[in-house]
């Protein structure tokens, strides 16, 4: 019993020991904050990656793609049945986007996606990211409406009432300035970020013409290009996508690349699959890959969204674990602090230890006092750290706002990160690990001093000055 009483008293009277655990507290708090923010970021990132990529993608790396998407889809249905909820064929091809702005041409490398927007919307979050310049939601459609046509400089000469003999000529001009085929471009393909005013300036607003250049799918590829009218922007928050993706109508792209007739069957080089919730994606991808290879060897590659983005996800995971290792060193350092201060306290308490032994305390009892003391310090240190860390995480956006106000500069620039707020996610498993690790270190650090205390010879301890 005396062990607990003495532990408790030492805890309340030895503030120097409390000082030694401040580093435990700080270490635990920092680890919780960092892990929560990183988990929040990576969760958001995975969400977006996943939303853009769909669950499973079947790619063909041949430039002419494959002409039988219906047969491929039928085989998919045959091998995994209704576990696939939706499928959409697409063409993905690298290219170049040219935008005319302020009398200059701006050219950007892009990834051109020929899609059927309605179908695409069923296989992922494609539709959820579509917005106009003011970030109002837009429908998944390439339709170039009358309102966009009217944005053409020539449109002001159109007179709806009068029957103008030049109407046809003007209409030609309008159709040249705002082409009939629509394109959905990544937010940053169409805009330039101006850090000085913290604004995205659109060089290709809705209705603007964007010229896409690419190569045809022929045996000997030839350059080809066509103009599209920007109808909407895709803002996923993943800069990699927003600065490269341009979506155009599948049939049009097939026609331009010589992959189809523009009407009926055409070739594609990608099929996106949406899978029923709870399915094991990598297992399904494996099954599909085997089935497809059996029928058409060496044509397809089947990958889950995670496999497609493997290096990026792995990089984030590595970053997080390195950070964790570094931060854990802080707590390990704190452990040596506890060790040092504990050894001091044992020396200071030498006489009391002798007295306790004279009163009949056993060796293990004395050891228990100091082990218990170390454990209590660890509990206090990591408990306060956990509380502080969690409070920080839960109020991180208020803290960010306050810091921004005090320092006069944006601590978290939502223009850079695309997130309106700092995303956080508290993983209780991780928190438990951090707190458990800190406790273990505190106890480990007190083992040696406790052992020394318990081994003190009572007479020598009593005679200690």
């Amino acid at each position: 019993m005396y062990k607990y009483l003495l532990c408790w008293r030492y805890l309340r009277t030895r503030y120097i020991a409390l000082a030694s655990i401040i580093s435990v507290t700080l270490g635990v708090a920092t680890m919780i904050v960092v892990n929560s923010v990183m988990a929040g970021f990576s969760e958001q990132m995975r969400d977006r990656l996943h939303g853009v990529l769909s669950d499973i993608t079947i790619d063909s790396h041949r430039s002419e793609g494959f002409r039988n998407p219906d047969e491929v889809m039928a085989l998919v249905r045959e091998s995994v049945g209704d576990r696939v909820e939706a499928m959409a064929a697409a063409i993905e091809t690298p290219g170049m986007a040219t935008i005319h702005f302020n009398g200059e041409n701006y050219t950007r490398p892009v990834q051109i996606m020929g899609i059927e927007p309605e179908e695409r919307a069923k296989t992922g979050d494609f539709a959820q990211y579509l917005v106009d310049e003011k970030e109002r939601r837009m429908p998944p459609s390439f339709h170039v409406g009358r309102d966009l046509k009217m944005k053409a400089p020539a449109a002001r000469f159109l007179d709806p009432n009068e029957k103008d003999p030049f109407q046809d000529v003007i209409n030609n001009d309008v159709n040249f300035q705002v082409p009939d085929f629509g394109a959905i471009t990544g937010w940053s393909v169409a805009s330039v970020h101006r850090p000085d005013v913290n604004k995205d300036i659109f060089i290709a607003p809705r209705g603007a013409k964007i010229i896409l250049s690419f190569v045809t799918a022929a045996r000997e590829p030839k350059p080809a290009s066509d103009s599209f009218a920007v109808v909407a922007f895709s803002k996923t928050g993943m800069s990699e996508y927003d600065s490269t993706h341009v979506y155009v109508p599948l049939k049009r792209l097939q026609q331009l690349r010589g992959m189809g007739d523009g009407e009926g069957r055409g070739a594609v080089n990608q099929i996106q699959l949406k899978v029923r919730k709870g399915e094991d994606l990598s297992k399904m991808a494996l099954t599909l890959g085997e089935a497809l290879t059996r029928k058409w060897p060496l044509v397809f590659e089947v990958r889950t969204w995670e496999q497609k983005q493997g290096p990026l996800l792995a990089a984030v995971a590595v970053e997080q674990s390195i950070l964790n290792i570094l931060l854990f060193f802080i707590i390990a350092v704190a452990g040596f602090g506890i060790l040092a201060i504990f050894s001091m306290i044992v020396v200071e308490k030498t006489r009391d230890i002798g007295v306790l032994k004279a009163l009949g305390a056993s060796t293990s009892g004395v050891r228990g006092i100091f082990l218990g003391y170390g454990l209590s310090l660890g509990i206090v240190g990591s408990g306060v750290g956990m509380l502080g860390g969690l409070l920080f995480v839960w109020n991180i956006n208020a803290i960010e706002k306050w810091l921004s106000k005090v320092t006069g500069r944006k601590v978290f620039d939502d223009a850079i990160y695309y997130f309106p707020e700092i995303p956080t996610k508290v993983e209780w498993f991780t928190v438990a690990w951090i707190v458990g690790g800190a406790l273990t270190i505190a106890v480990l650090a007190s083992i040696w001093p406790a052992h020394r205390a318990s081994k003190l010879h009572p007479v020598r301890a009593l005679r200690f000055e």
Binding site: M1, L6, G354, L356, G360, S362, H457, P458, L462
Partner: protein, 236 residues
């Protein structure tokens, strides 16, 4: 009267650098039940050492200690812990109260050491009552919650005596209990010990420098040259 505690040929030496310094060179001593024995001797003659060996805080190099005829110095560590806790009560010159605990908690300490958490909690009321009664007995009923630092020397020694009595030991070992007190306070502490010796039939050995104190005990022995010589006759 029967022999309560006996030392038979106790030898103990300390190593100082390379040479062995003998402190006890064959101490033979018998203390009867209920006896109050004083040990006198020059400083450094080994009085504390003898007390520590008798109270199982230290082991002899040779010889043995017997409690009511049973050898106790060679018992297991655990059995010796139990004997220190239940049979012996220690009183020190510098009181040695635990500074973090109140007077009452200090007195309860031996009982807290004796009992585990569950047993302690079950008997908490009784233990408190016993400790309070002991503090009242030594005249500190009004100082229960005081920390040692808030007590005077005499009060601290009384609290230490109450602590030594907690758990009803049979044998008190007091190492210069009055050595750090002024004459009047020392006298009152001695009277307290004498009263307890009579009231409870406690056997006591007390080390002292003070011939006046020694004179008030049943018997005085002298430790010199590492051996005991009866001194009662000398005084008489």
């Amino acid at each position: 009267m029967s022999v309560h505690l006996s030392a038979i040929g106790l030898e103990k030496s300390y190593r100082k650098g390379k040479i062995q310094v003998p402190v006890l060179r064959g101490v033979d001593l018998e203390v009867e039940h209920g006896e109050l024995v004083a040990i006198v001797g020059a400083s450094g003659s080994g009085k504390s050492t003898l007390l520590h060996v008798l109270g199982l805080l230290d082991g002899p190099d040779a010889g043995s200690v017997q409690l009511s005829g049973e050898r106790i110095d060679n018992l297991s560590e655990h059995r010796r812990d139990v004997l220190r806790n239940r049979t012996f009560g220690f009183i020190f010159q510098f009181y040695h109260l635990l500074p973090e605990l109140s007077a009452l908690e200090n007195v309860m300490a031996p009982l807290m050491i004796r009992h585990g958490v569950r047993a302690y909690l079950a008997q908490r009321k009784m233990i408190r009552k016993e400790a309070t009664a002991l503090l009242e007995r030594v005249g500190l009923g009004h100082r229960l919650t005081h920390r040692p630092a808030e007590l005077s020397g005499g009060e601290m020694q009384r609290a230490a005596i109450a602590r030594a009595l907690a758990g009803s030991p049979e044998f008190l070992l007091a190492d210069e209990p009055t050595g750090n007190l002024d004459a009047a306070t020392g006298q009152s502490v001695l009277e307290l010990l004498r009263d307890l010796n009579r009231e409870r039939g406690l056997t006591m050995m007390l080390v002292t420098h003070d011939a006046h104190i020694a004179a008030q005990t049943d018997r005085t022995v002298r430790l010199a040259e590492g051996r005991i010589e009866e001194w009662a006759t000398v005084l008489a």
